[in-house]
Symmetry: C2
Subunit: 341 residues, 2 copies
Amino acid sequence: MKEFTVDGRTVTLKDLANELGIHPSTVSRILHSGSDVARGAASVATAERVRELARKRGYSPNPQAAGLRTRRTRLTGVIVPRLSDLVLAVMYEGIDEAAAELGYSTFVMNSRDDPEEQRRKTDTMLARRVDGLIIGDAHLDGSHLRELTARKVPFVLMNRRVPGYPSATCDDVLGGQLAADHLWSNGHRNVAVIAGEPYASTAVDRTAGFVDRWQSLGGKISQEAVVWSRFDTAGGRVAAETILAGRNHYPTAIFAVNDFAAIGCMGALRSHGLTVGRDVAVVGFNDTSVASELPIPLSSVRSPMLKIGRTAMQLLKRVLDGEPVEPVLLQPTLCVRESSA
Amino acid sequence: MKEFTVDGRTVTLKDLANELGIHPSTVSRILHSGSDVARGAASVATAERVRELARKRGYSPNPQAAGLRTRRTRLTGVIVPRLSDLVLAVMYEGIDEAAAELGYSTFVMNSRDDPEEQRRKTDTMLARRVDGLIIGDAHLDGSHLRELTARKVPFVLMNRRVPGYPSATCDDVLGGQLAADHLWSNGHRNVAVIAGEPYASTAVDRTAGFVDRWQSLGGKISQEAVVWSRFDTAGGRVAAETILAGRNHYPTAIFAVNDFAAIGCMGALRSHGLTVGRDVAVVGFNDTSVASELPIPLSSVRSPMLKIGRTAMQLLKRVLDGEPVEPVLLQPTLCVRESSA
DNA sequence: AACCCCAACCCAATCGATTGGGTAAGGGAC
DNA sequence: GTCCCTTACCCAATCGATTGGGTTGGGGTT
């Protein structure tokens, strides 16, 4: 509850100090020291009086002032391709939860996966003096990340990884393998992959995991059966059209590296008179909340999105504290539903 | 591009002033005055030298310091039920665009429509000294808003309106009418409504618009045909089950006040062996990006989500500038697709 | 010659919190 | 009694930008 002094300003340290007849610095030290009095800054009785008054007046420290002095804002920046991508939105919820617990606030910005925008947004965040960044739109080439490192900006990656940088991601290779195992054991031998954008590790790892496992199971999968695509529904539809157009006999199963691409794919299949689940199996990735509620519920590799976001924030905190950090891989699980049962 | 002085700190006004042998205040005035020199603060030549050096050194003003002095942070807070609700995510993109244009940055937080959380998040934002708030989770009872007004916090509503407060919303009553007109003219006479949460104006207005228009067209619609529900897919499924369970003959059309509820509804219909579009027409609301790409494309009342977000931010800016503002209603349009053709 | 004005600057206080370095009073050891 | 150590504080500089109020020197007026 923000309160005001008689003249309408918000309550400051000095106000509290004046009212109690002690020095602002003493008040500061008391309010800083958890519940024990730090470095003998004040007597227990005084500390109690100060805390009591602070509560009563609704004192809330001015972060501008504190940040100015301490050179830390407890602000973090989050950059994602788009927040209207459900996957990133959920991850952001995880970040936000963890940030609140750690006493940080966060800015989010969309880069639309455009390198130019990535730089611009990064600069905007740095101009705001964020303590660190969570990058959710890393491209595998990594030139942007090298710049950040050169500028000594603390950051961690989320969702997509790039070798050599700290990150919190799903074990996407494993996720691809789970999908391959599932389709193979259901008897499919002719499959295609809607692979996503080649600059994203999510797309590359999931596809690689799937293809490698498929081949080690003894399956064949041709070049043309792997179609790169955008990550959204429209992209999935286009990719599915390509798959259906380019071959004389349809695959019996399609693995899409993303639920929304899978949904677009299901739409295309239906347009071709094919029934999902009976004629063609479809497996998506992420198990977003729509997957289970679709008219034909979608099988999907569940990635722990909320956890990934939380982990990213916790990793960043450790980076900011100067601790060493390693990339973290979180485990996916397969959810089989009607689309591939 | 953030640059550093020799000793590793970021560049300050004083650094620039020292290097040019003039006073920091002069530099400040020059950099503040657009491209013309304000109030004769400096000669054109000096102004040019200052701007040139600022560019060269990559000077970027410290917002903490400026905010401390001016008591404005150019920060705004955005509170939404959940950012993983696609509708709110898109609106937030609109806010973010407009905020960037106006020189503001934004925090977003999720309240999950919980009054307790709304207060907590509001307080967190105010503790961060935001200049104003955009409230995307207003409840019709409005007690929280009365508090905000009492505390003299500048704010505007977005997505949901509450009479008496400035807001940027879709004309939801009109949206409901569009849906009613469409279904009526397609010959439907037995309809049901999945109405959403009764505390949200979106739900209430869309439902009222639909029901009132339906009745004025001469239709009948019973109490039990209007089912309140959560806004997500699961909520839509449950509501649809209620509709299908409670009646001896199924409605031939269902209007859901939200696309995700509509998707859940489509799932439930299919589970009952009904084909969407042939046996039962379904119309959603918002025209989110999935609607058109679903296996059975969903008819939906399109609301200008991005525009609503942009407008909300622009309204807030006007409030912050002390200008008078009125609620803004943005026009929806109907997109007819296979689910109700 | 006295006066005023304007351009082009400078000065210093201010915003609110933090922090390294005091200092005064009191108690205990020897 | 002297010395030292705590305890419980106070003091003042500092972070970086902003802003109301100077000051100076030159030119124009009358």
